[in-house]
Symmetry: C2
Subunit: 260 residues, 2 copies
């Protein structure tokens, strides 16, 4: 409750989309509460529980999954810092998926009604949030393509490239080789494959010099090579700031927001 709370990280996530007015920044800041931390491999929420909160991930990696009746699991989403998590349960009573940490993690909590508050007070932020869920939907779509119409090799390559692209957008790359702390069992459940087959496919990529094992996870050695294998097209990760601004200009001829 002290004023030492650093809201810059949160504000920055929204400003990735369009510059915010002072008022909007203050509005966002006023909703920020202290972040919560979770240890590696712990549950943030379980599937079936009530969906009152959403989060912005600030540190670490987490993933959303769905447990099936026959004991198998589908990993639905893998989140990196900056990602907003849980918006899709807006106006749902229960969560359709669980959320687990892959590493130690830090998350900023928000309540769903706060989202409605945001909508009520700032059309700009409303547009930004809509853009965010639209982009997220594009990612899910691409993952459907991956699950439905690509070979194991392509699936894996595509998944890795997407991940590193998303990381690159949120933090500077630490050199050329990128290390992803993703165990093979997780890859399997994300790609709809068996662990064994993921392992063999990893070996293939390894033998081609594209990746390298690194503890529990792997390191990308040749991003361009992977991109070629996956026929990766990053269009779906790029929102269009100009288009969004144009929408806002069109709509907001009335509301002049007092700038700082």
């Amino acid at each position: 409750m002290t004023d030492t709370l650093d809201t810059r990280f949160i504000v920055k996530q929204f400003e990735n989309y369009i510059p915010l007015s002072c008022k909007d920044k203050e509005l966002v800041s006023s909703l920020v509460k202290p972040p919560v931390t979770y240890l590696k491999n712990t549950s943030v929420w379980h599937q079936g529980t009530s969906s009152e909160r959403f989060y912005i991930l600030s540190k670490g990696w987490v993933y959303a999954y769905r447990n099936m009746e026959d004991g198998t699991r589908q990993v639905l989403d893998l989140y990196v810092p900056g990602d907003i998590i849980g918006l899709r349960e807006f106006a749902f009573r229960k969560r359709g998926s669980g959320l687990m940490t892959l590493s130690n993690a830090e998350l900023y909590p928000f309540s769903m009604p706060q989202l409605s508050t945001l909508f009520a007070h700032s059309p700009s932020l409303c547009n930004v949030l809509f853009t965010i869920v639209a982009r997220h939907q594009a990612i899910l779509l691409e993952r459907m393509v991956n699950l439905g119409r690509r070979s194991a090799r392509e699936k894996l390559a595509h998944f890795l490239v997407e991940l590193s692209e998303r990381l690159r957008r949120v933090q500077r790359i630490p050199g050329n080789a990128l290390e992803l702390p993703v165990p093979q069992a997780l890859l399997a459940d994300a790609l709809g494959l068996s662990v064994v087959h993921v392992n063999r496919t990893c070996r293939e990529l390894k033998e081609n010099g594209l990746v390298m094992p690194a503890g529990s996870g792997l390191t990308i050695l040749d991003l361009e090579g992977l991109r070629k294998v996956a026929q990766f097209d990053a269009y779906y990760l790029e929102h269009d700031a100009e288009t969004l601004s144009a929408y806002l200009r069109t709509s907001a001829e009335a509301n002049v927001s007092p700038d700082c």
Copy 2:
């Protein structure tokens, strides 16, 4: 441009979520333009073209697809009347998927900037639209589970049950047997299978008395049976009107909307 334009169908789609104020209804109505019609098996838009419009489907069936470089195709979405189509390209420059009609179809067009206008003028509608995309995302997630972790048999059954559930929510069922005009090639591309395999799987279901061929498409004979095969749980199709109202109450203590 005449006043004979019937906006009730459109307004109804939004009122599925919460009751709208007079002002909101008028706002929605004011954005409605005459519907456009397309013949069976024609393209509404192509992947890669600019995304200036979205639509509300009023009659017929359409589907969104993605063509792959190797000539294969993934069907991403199958829409029935009442569905809102194209929201996910909000603030994207280009469409990530094409849209084709499966039957003769009628769609009400809206422009993307109109959406921003809506946001700026009505927090309630903003909430409704957010709920709609959240629900849509839940559907995509379920489809990911389907693609990743279910057998051909289960995939097919699940797809059919989802479809009939969604239909049931939008129009009264014409008896017990429901006819779905979906060719097998489409099922294949939606489920990530080959046409041949879909055909064989259909035969299995047929032999179990669950479905029946019907022209180009099939008829559901035993919905409960299919439900069991797919282990279908409809949670993800149910938004929660009460929760949404509660959000609105919490947030809108300030803005009292003048009721009719």
